[in-house]
Symmetry: C2
Subunit: 356 residues, 2 copies
């Protein structure tokens, strides 16, 4: 497999709510060091694929308000490789822009579309899966990576996999399934025919462009000018207009669920979408009592503490709490309530926007 | 009753452990606004007796390291009225110094010895009790104030009261009892013959000096020179020597338990020693769910939050917690563990003295 035409397209948007108060509007999840000390999820994402993709061919698509923070988090990335969206319109316009942009640089470009804010434990196994996905994409297939489910997770979407095994050990995708309820999730896992949808995609740029032309022709028409724009300023005029008119729709719904020749590579490399503070606790190093973070733990079990460096946090006689402290906001909740942080953020909107 | 000779002696020492991390070595409990917004317990204590004692006759005995903070908390107090102890030796040397000091100012001085860090709800009833205590002290009695117990509290000492009623509706004290266990506390309360020892004392300065001469003659001899010291510098030479040689003993043990003519005035004015964060929660204004403090409470009950002004604290799905935040230290514990804060402070000694 050759990777000389491989571009990484890192999708780095995000509203910064699930990890409040650490995450903020200007500092969403991918700009936080949630899984490894002193290393943002975004930096980990780029470094993870570095053996296959040099930073010259890494494109990071993010919100315009996040462009500066993104460049600061990736000092070795050419600044021009940050594609700053004028407005958030979910992932379909994002992928379309990146595809036309990559085609302008290299007519044989192959895209690895990656989430900026996921975590992978086994980097070597991950790279091997990417190699297989790129190989499978060579014939024009749209390839996704499905994760072997380790539990009946209701927080992920699933892919139903066909039996046929093609090049690069890929499978056909029978259907995409939204986040299931607990009963269906158990069925999915027991059937052995379902994988978690990891939201990573691999395709030739010309193949996904053809798919856009077929399934989202208005977007393709509006964004096509990117390919021939003589400057970034000209490119942004095309992009601004395309985003203004674009529907807000995911690449899953807009393309993958409708396209032919969609294939999946099963992967098993210790993957997490780092979906909440609970996941951050699961990924963190813990003491014998299950506490994670730097604190004085006394009669305390299963807690997760995140606080500014040097601050003394004393956790006395408490269990299974998440405590996240920042200079201007402090969150205390049970670990099991991590998915409800959004409710706090919503409650503060319009009242204390200074801490959002 | 005349109060023109009445001096308030406010005992304002303290190690600053029980209310950590808000209290510190240089900011113990009496310098915190624990019962009323924006008003230290020390300031409340002085203001509470202001109708009877102008600040010219208020003496505040405190540690030398606390002198500056004490003067700042009481801007209307003549700075010379802060008696800064060279070393902490419990309350007997403190009262002895104050007694000789007051005698030097007024041979007919009467002392109201008060704790700096208690709280009183009914100020008018409190003043009436003080008037009775001062009246009872006119004949040379050593008078204490006992609180009608509202519950079998094991955190207070008790006074067993005799039947004889003397001047100012005072009773004889049969004995002082240390903090009892739960069984005895219930017996005490049911008997109707016991009052809480509030640690407040009223006596003529010459009467307590005679008691020191009789029961703690070495201390009396060492401190006696205070009465004739021509300057504060001379007074401090006497005091330094007296404290250096003094035993560390309370006025209760050293004098009150041994003296004759000890009397008690029963009081019922909503008294609290503000002994822990739990008490602070009990005294605080609470919302319908029993939460006290400024925070975004969501599905939260019975919590107490103290945080820097302007900081957003979000309490999501938690109950009966104490959360105390400061710029350099944060404490999270169940309300019922409030008495164990000292364990945290002990654990931090020698490691993080900067936050103690």
């Amino acid at each position: 497999m050759s990777t000389e035409h491989l571009f990484a397209v890192v999708m780095a948007g995000g509203s910064g709510t699930r990890f409040w108060p650490l995450s903020r509007r200007l500092k969403p999840k991918q700009l936080l060091a949630l899984a490894e000390p002193e290393r943002t999820l975004l930096a980990s994402t780029v470094e993870r694929v570095a053996p296959l993709v040099p930073t010259e061919r890494v494109l990071v698509v993010t919100g315009h308000h996040l462009a500066e923070g993104t460049r600061m988090a990736l000092p070795s990335l050419p600044p021009i490789n940050v594609l700053a969206e004028p407005i958030a319109k979910n992932t379909a316009p994002c992928v379309a822009w990146a595809a036309y942009h990559a085609l302008a640089r290299d007519p044989d470009a192959v895209l690895a579309v990656l989430a900026a804010d996921h975590f992978v434990i086994d980097g070597a196994a991950y790279l091997e899966v990417i190699r297989r996905a790129v190989t499978a994409a060579a014939d024009g297939s749209l390839v996704t990576v499905g994760i072997k489910p380790s539990r009946p997770e209701t927080g992920y979407g699933y892919l139903e996999v066909g039996g046929e095994v093609g090049p690069g050990f890929s499978h056909t995708v029978l259907r995409f399934v939204e986040k299931p309820d607990a009963v269906r999730a158990i069925e999915f896992v027991q059937s052995g025919r379902f994988l978690w949808n990891s939201g990573q995609f691999f395709f030739r740029a010309d193949a996904i462009v053809r798919a856009f032309e077929q399934h989202m022709p208005e977007l393709a028409r509006a964004m096509g000018g990117v390919r021939h724009a003589p400057s970034r300023a000209e490119e942004m005029r095309v992009v601004d207009a395309a985003y203004a008119g674009a529907a807000s729709i995911s690449i899953d719904h807009g393309i993958m669920e409708k396209a032919e020749r969609v294939r999946v590579i099963p992967g098993d490399f210790g993957w997490s979408d780092v979906g909440s503070w609970t996941t951050a606790w699961e990924l963190a190093k813990k003491d014998d009592a299950g506490n994670a973070g730097t604190a004085a733990f006394v009669d305390a079990r299963g807690n997760f503490v995140h606080a500014p460096s040097g601050k003394v946090v004393a956790m006395l006689g408490v269990s299974d709490l998440v405590v996240v402290d920042t200079p201007d906001a402090l969150l205390v909740m049970p670990r099991e309530r991590a998915q409800d942080v959004r409710a706090i953020v919503d409650a503060l909107k319009g009242k204390r926007d200074d801490v959002l």
